[in-house]
Each structure stands twice: as C-alpha cells, then as structure tokens.
C-alpha cells in the first residue's frame, strides 16, 4: 500500500503539533532549570563583589533561597503526584462513603456490605490466600533455584529458562495457562495439557477451573510461574555479591553445605530477600489480570482488584467499588511502611 501524504495529512499535522508541544514543554523546563539557578548564582556573585568592595563582612547564604531551589526541582514531581495520586486517592475515599451513583452520602454502608455479603467475604479470603501463598512460594522457589544453579555449568541457560515468563504479560500468561487447563469431555480429543496427561495416565478429564478451592490454587500457579524469575534473578545477584572472603573463611572452617546456606548465605542476602517478598506481596495484592482473564472471578475465584473493577466500572456501583479500593489501599500501606523503615535502617546501619 502506498503511503498517501494527502490522506494522512490530519494525522501528520496532529503528530507535528504533538512534537512541537513536547519540545516546547520539555525545552521550557530545561531552560527554566538552567536559567533560574544561573540567575541566583549571578545575584550572589554580585552581592559578594559588592560586599568585598565595601569591606563589609561577607553575607551569609540565606537559607530560604535553598528552599526555593528545592521547590523548583520538586515542582514537576509534586504536581504529577498531586494530580495522579493524591487527588484520586482522596476522591476515592469520599466516593466510598457515597451510593452507587455518587449522589447521596451513605455512611459506612459500603463497608458493612463488604464484610457481610458472602460473595465479597469470599473475595477477601481469596485475596488473603493469594497474598500468603504467592510471595512465600515464589521467593522460596526463586531462592532454591538461585542457590542450585549458582556457578553450575549451564547457569545462564538455566536462569533464562526461569526468567523468560517474566517477559510475558499477565493476560498472555493467563491465556496460555487457560489452554493448559482446558477441558474436553471424556472420550474427546483433549486440547489441554493437564487433561491430556491425566487421560494418558488413565484418568478422567477434569474441569480444573470450576471447583474451589483448587481453582484459586491453579491461578496462583500462573502468578508463581511469572514471578519466580524475578525472585531468582534478584536473589542470585545477592548471592553473587556475598564477599568471597566470608565464603572462603567459612570453607576453611569446614562448614557443611547446609550450614553454609543457613549461616552464611541467608544472613548475607537478607535485605534482598525482604525486597523480593515485599515487592511480590504488593504485586499479589493488586493481582487483577490473571483472575479476570482466566475466570473473570467466576466459580469463587475473584480477588479484591477484580471485584473492585466489576463493581465500579461494570455494575455502576461506584460506592462499593471505591470501598474495595480503599480497603486494598489500607492493606498495602503497612507493607510499604515496613519497606521504607527497612531501607532507612540499612542506610543508617
């Protein structure tokens, strides 16, 4: 197909506007960042010159001006945070105390609904199962794998095998695994890997995603499959960063591999371990794509993020959706605080 400039002109024009706007905004910001400090520097220079000329004591650099500098540098980030995070968070909190169409105030009704409706309680329990199992199993698996392949012959190949699923989107992974769990009736040709294995072992095909609590566990497997690579890579790097002299000293003292792992490796990689568990916990609390793609929360598999989306954007129940969002936020906050405290301790220590 020929590229017709005349026909594409409106699009090209929009593209040009976009480019000009981008250059103007970014260029303007850069100019500002260059010009403002330079202006301050010139002023201070002039003051110093004037002070030395008059023989008066040199003026001390006034404090508020440093605050001004900081303000200029922080302004873009603060603006974006305000618009993209703080305002929506406050608005969601307000909405969670209103009814479905966000007109009347209903007090805590959305919250009592959340903890009394059987299907929503089920959602909360499912989320708990996810957040308990995924970080634990993923980290354990990643750690075990990292230790086992460390300095093995085909280390890089073995590592990339586990790391590759990281490159697949959650939706893509869920679709892949949906095929793994696919079901065809007894006597039909199976298209699902799992059922084909069951059938060739003489069993009857099963509808894997239909029966709780097994279906939630099978969905958790998908998340572990994706995230194990992340845990493995971070922990493997941490293991490699253990100072060689410690390892050598331990070897000279004649430790067993078991002692080596628990007394040398584990304490040394503790910070990395915490980062992995915390990151995975937050990612798991927010899990949405896998559940939505694989079952859409049917058959008792729903989790908070999925239910929140359904309530707010499918059923038009803004209040109930917001209440779920706020609850999710409340769950994430302690983990984030723990992580920040940890980082501070490391910096001080």
């Amino acid at each position: 197909m020929e590229f017709d400039f005349a026909a594409e002109q409106p699009k090209l024009l929009m593209l040009m506007y976009g480019l000009i706007a981008f250059v103007a905004v970014v260029g303007g910001l850069l100019l500002l960042l260059d010009a403002v400090p330079a202006w301050f520097a010139r002023r201070r220079e002039a003051q110093l010159v004037a002070a030395s000329a008059s023989g008066a004591p040199l003026p001390r650099r006034p404090k508020p001006r440093e605050g001004m500098f900081a303000f200029f540098f922080l302004l873009p980030a603060v603006l974006l945070l305000l618009v993209g995070l703080v305002v929506p968070a406050i608005r969601t909190m307000l909405l969670s105390f209103m009814d479905g169409s966000s007109v009347d105030w209903v007090g805590f009704r959305n919250y009592t609904w959340m903890f009394s409706d059987d299907s929503i309680v089920r959602v909360l329990i499912n989320t708990l199962v996810w957040v308990l199992l995924v970080p634990l199993i993923t980290t354990a698996f990643g750690l075990l794998y990292a230790v086992l392949v460390d300095r093995a012959r085909f280390e890089s190949v073995a590592k990339s095998l586990i790391f590759m699923p990281m490159a697949i989107s959650f939706v893509g992974a869920a679709i892949i695994w949906k095929f793994v769990y696919a079901f065809r009736g007894d006597g039909q040709e199976q298209i699902g890997l799992l059922n084909q294995i069951v059938v060739s072992l003489g069993g009857e095909p099963k509808q894997w995603l239909l029966d709780p609590p097994l279906n939630t566990l099978l969905l958790i497997v998908i998340m572990i499959w994706i995230q194990a690579g992340f845990a493995m890579v971070v922990l493997s790097a941490a293991i490699k960063a253990i100072p060689a002299d410690i390892v050598e000293a331990a070897r000279l003292d004649g430790v067993s591999p078991w002692q080596m792992f628990w007394q040398i490796t584990m304490p040394s990689i503790r910070p990395a371990l915490i980062v992995v568990v915390v990151t995975l916990s937050i990612a798991t609390l927010k899990v949405f794509d896998i559940v939505r793609t694989a079952t859409n929360g049917n058959y008792d598999t729903s989790v908070i993020a999925n239910e929140m989306y359904n309530q707010a954007f499918r059923y038009g129940e803004n209040g109930q959706g917001s209440a779920l969002a706020v609850f999710l936020f409340v769950l994430v906050v302690p983990i984030v605080i723990y992580q920040i405290r940890n980082l501070r301790q490391q910096r001080e220590g």
Binding site: G100, R184, G185, Q207, L210, R314, Y315, E317
Partner: protein
C-alpha cells in the same frame, strides 16, 4: 432475534426427526434423540468477562413462555421480585433441559461443561452429529465453521423456539439497536424518519445480517435464510415481542449477578439460592 433453536436439517431428515412446534414436542424429541444414544442439546455460556449471558437468554425465553408478557415486564423492572416463584418456575423449566445430564452437553461433556464452553463454539457439535439442538440467537448464523451451509435444506438451520401453549400467542425474545437523537432539529428528525421508513429497511436489509420488524420490509430483500425466517416471525401479527430482559435490568444485575448467578446455577447451585442471591443484589 433470539428465540431460535439451531439444528441440522440433514441429520433430521436422515433420522426421521421433525421440527417441534410446541414445548412438549420439543421435550419428546429430546427424549427420542437421547434414547438413540446422542445427547440432544449442546450449550455454552463462557464469554470472557460476560460469561453467563447465553443462559440469561434461556431464562428470558422461558419467562416469556411460562408467564404473561406483563409479568415479564414487571420482572425486568423489579415489580416482580427475582426470587418470585414465577421466576423459579421459568428457571426450573430451563433446567429441565440445561441441567439434565441425559440432554447435555452433546460433544463437550456433562452439565458443568456448559459453564466453560464458549458460546461461539457451543453449537459446532451439530455439524459433526454429536449434538442435535442448540438454542442461540439468529446472529449465530455467522459463527459456524467455514463451509457450513446455513439454509432450510443445508447443513444447519434454525427453528422457532416453540411456545408452551401456542394458542396464547408467539412469544419472541430479541435484542436491537436504538437511534437516539441528541438535538431536536428538523434535519435530525428527517434522518430519524428515514431510518424508521420502509425505504431504509429495504435498502439496509439488502446488505445482509440485519432484520427489522418494519412491516414494509419486503422478504425478497433479505438475503440470509435465517434473517428471512426472523423477519417472517417478527412480522407475524401473533408474535409478542419482548426485549432482552438482562439488558433492561440495572447493570449490577443484568450484567452482573444475573450472569454470575447463571454460572453458579449451571455449576450445581439450586434455583432458590441463586434467585435469592440475585434478588438481594438488586440496587435499592
């Protein structure tokens, strides 16, 4: 038009089965097919994030067949509660087919396989003889595997989902498109008038995949045989048309708990519990 049952005219001819015209005949035929060793019905309600909707069509069709159109209207506007015995009656009537292990799910497995079978492929076992009947709307004409001839004397065709008591009229369930005007100007009204005219109906129908109840629509202008049948039924003065109920209900029910309730119902939950759950979710 949604009140259709798809079948294979070829297979029907070979086996000497006839198209049923009443509910009782439909059940008798199902029994006959089941006795011959084939599961008569195939169904599938999996539809990604809209899973469950094909089963709501079943219930709506059965509401229209077991109740009066007035009760149907009250049901969609919550004048009749969702857990009313009348709704339970319709559900149980649908369950007579959908939850009957002898009847379903031809080509896929047992009753529960309905929940995970996608609606697009649910009817395909008809082409291989593993299933004989599939209730789905007229649009399903475009879902068949390539090379399937959709016609009265072809590989697959549809018949009208029969009424329980044909003497009480011909209930038809359907969906549709709306033309909404955002401005009250003469030219806007002119377009609306044109879209409602027989002239538009005839020229639009010629393009295909479109039906209308417009009485001026000439059958000869409808190319697709199933659409032709749809127009015939829609123009029949005995026809009582009702719009898809779940589309009329609030989204929290019609695109939420009604769908989910149907999935649970197929998956083994009893009628009373399912209806109670949907009823309690109706926005206050």
């Amino acid at each position: 038009m949604k009140s259709f049952v798809w079948y294979s005219p070829k297979t029907f001819k070979e086996k000497g089965w006839t198209v049923p015209t009443t509910w009782d005949e439909l059940i008798a035929l199902s029994d006959k097919i089941a006795a011959s060793g084939t599961k008569p019905w195939c169904a599938g309600i999996e539809s990604g994030d809209a899973t469950g909707w094909p089963a709501t069509d079943w219930i709506e069709d059965l509401m229209l067949r077991t109740q009066t159109p007035e009760v149907y209207d009250q049901w969609t506007t919550h004048g009749v509660a969702f857990n009313d015995p009348k709704v339970a009656e319709a559900l149980d009537k649908a369950g007579q087919i959908l939850k009957n292990e002898k009847y379903v799910n031809g080509g896929f497995g047992g009753v529960k396989s309905i929940a995970t079978t996608s609606f697009q492929e649910a009817g395909t076992p008809i082409t291989t003889g593993k299933c004989a009947l599939h209730r789905q709307a007229s649009f399903y004409a475009n879902q068949w595997p390539e090379g399937t001839k959709v016609a009265e004397d072809g590989d697959v065709f549809a018949f009208y989902f029969p009424a329980v008591d044909p003497a009480k009229g011909k209930p038809v369930l359907g969906g549709g498109e709306f033309v909404a005007a955002f401005a009250d100007r003469a030219e806007v009204q002119a377009v609306q008038t044109y879209l409602a005219s027989g002239e538009y109906a005839n020229s639009r129908a010629k393009i295909g995949d479109w039906v209308s109840a417009n009485k001026k629509l000439d059958l000869a202008n409808v190319p697709n045989p199933v659409d032709k049948l749809s127009v015939q039924i829609l123009q029949d003065p005995k026809t009582v048309f009702r719009f898809d109920g779940s589309d009329l209900m609030p989204a929290a029910v019609g695109a939420g708990t009604f769908w989910k309730g149907m999935v649970d119902w197929i998956n083994g939950k009893d009628t009373a519990t399912v209806l109670q759950g949907i009823e309690s979710s109706w926005p206050k």
